[in-house]
Amino acid sequence: MHEQSKEFELTAEEAAALDEIAGALGRFGQERGNLIPILQMVQERLSYLPPRAIELVASHLGMAPCEVYGVATFYNQFRFHPPGRYRIKVCLGTACHVKGGDIILENFERKLGIRDGETTPDREFSIERVACVGCCALAPVTVINETVHGHTAPSKVEGLLLGFQIERERKEREDKKHADGESQDH
């Protein structure tokens, strides 16, 4: 459940975007009918709907925050967690469903300790379920950021995550080496 998870601290960028949103709300009337266009505008700028944004929208429309939340959770298009650096999208379209896409989803959820629609506290990974990404011949399919991983199997899930970890560690080492090299130059 969304409300159970800890609130993510806003990044400096997000805090700035939130200030902009407060200004942009003035362009919308205060009729309740504007709620969904407003939420779409907020999500476009923030990529998700943090509690502070929901409060902002609620006070603009004179609604209770819980009502705004109730409406927003009805629609699949709204997210309540920031997207991770790696956005894992597990396909549960018909072909992937038949090929066990739900097992792949469960594997990601278990390995990362989050549920679908959530993000790891370090904002590295987020899991979403999607309905058909258009390459059913490769079922079951997982899309991570822009890369399509076909024929995913539970055993491949760990490999994928390990690959990201190795990549990250290598990058950290290189950055460190780079930084060290620079400091020696001075």
Binding site: M1, H2, E3, Q4, P51, I54, E55, A58, M63, A64, P65, C66, E67, Y69, G70, T73, F74
Partner: protein, 237 residues
């Protein structure tokens, strides 16, 4: 006043009143969950208060049927009971039956309806779909138990009726629908301590004042099969 006949009994009623309220006032119990006397609008969403009305081709919901002269009603026909049992079975398939530890035990509407319909509280041939977590502690005073909740909406509608800024609402959709107190952080700023309408109206104690001493229900505490016999949940055929 109009005279109507409920199960062949002549009853005086005011035209325009809901048939369900007339039945209840005259001591004829018709199963219902979403209907509340004090709220004018009824969503007719629980699909339990079916009755047969002469002239209607199929059973109708008593809460949305208005009293009119010479209405002839039967509340206990096999077709009515069949519909009610089906609705109750579906509700119970998403209900955690743990009556021994539930504060609603003995005055729970589900128990009462199951006893009336002669069905057990554990529907056969239906998968039990429970939700996580067992208890949601978001509100400063009340806990919400998703696996008790029957989503009748009494609490949501009452809160909307009483407070210009409602404090609880439905969230999500389909099987994951819940009642949520999203955004209520500070007990000083909310009227809940004095209102409690939602807790009082809940037919199944899905909203309950937080008792810090009470153990968190669910988890490992599932009663073992050999002790479950004494559970009132097991009553009925």
């Amino acid at each position: 006043m109009a005279t109507i006949y409920i199960d062949d009994k002549a009853v005086e009623a005011t035209p325009g009143d809901s048939l369900l309220s007339v039945c209840l006032k005259n001591g004829i119990y018709v199963p219902h969950l979403c209907y509340l006397e004090e709220l004018k609008e009824t969503p007719a969403s629980c699909r339990l208060c079916f009755v047969e009305v002469e002239g209607e081709p199929a059973p109708v919901t008593a809460c949305t049927t208005m009293v009119r002269e010479d209405l002839r009603v039967r509340t206990d026909t096999p077709e009515v009971r069949r519909l009610q049992r089906a609705a109750l079975r579906l509700l119970l398939s998403v209900h955690r039956v743990d009556c021994g530890r539930c504060p609603a035990n003995k005055h729970c509407d589900l128990q009462r309806i199951a006893a009336l319909l002669g069905t057990g509280l554990k529907p056969k041939n239906l998968a039990l779909l429970l939700r996580e977590p067992q208890v949601v502690r978001v509100h400063p005073l009340f806990d919400y138990y998703p696996n008790r909740c029957v989503l009748c909406g009494r609490c949501v509608r009452l809160c909307r009726e009483r407070h210009a800024m409602p404090l609880l609402t439905f969230a999500d959709r389909g099987f994951s629908t819940t009642v949520t107190f999203y955004g209520q952080g500070n007990s000083e700023e909310i009227p809940c301590a004095d209102c409690r309408a939602c807790v009082k109206a809940c037919p199944v104690a899905a909203l309950w004042p937080r008792d810090s001493d009470a153990p968190v229900p669910g988890g490992e505490e599932e009663p073992s099969p050999n002790t479950a016999g004494s559970d009132p949940a097991e009553a009925g055929p």
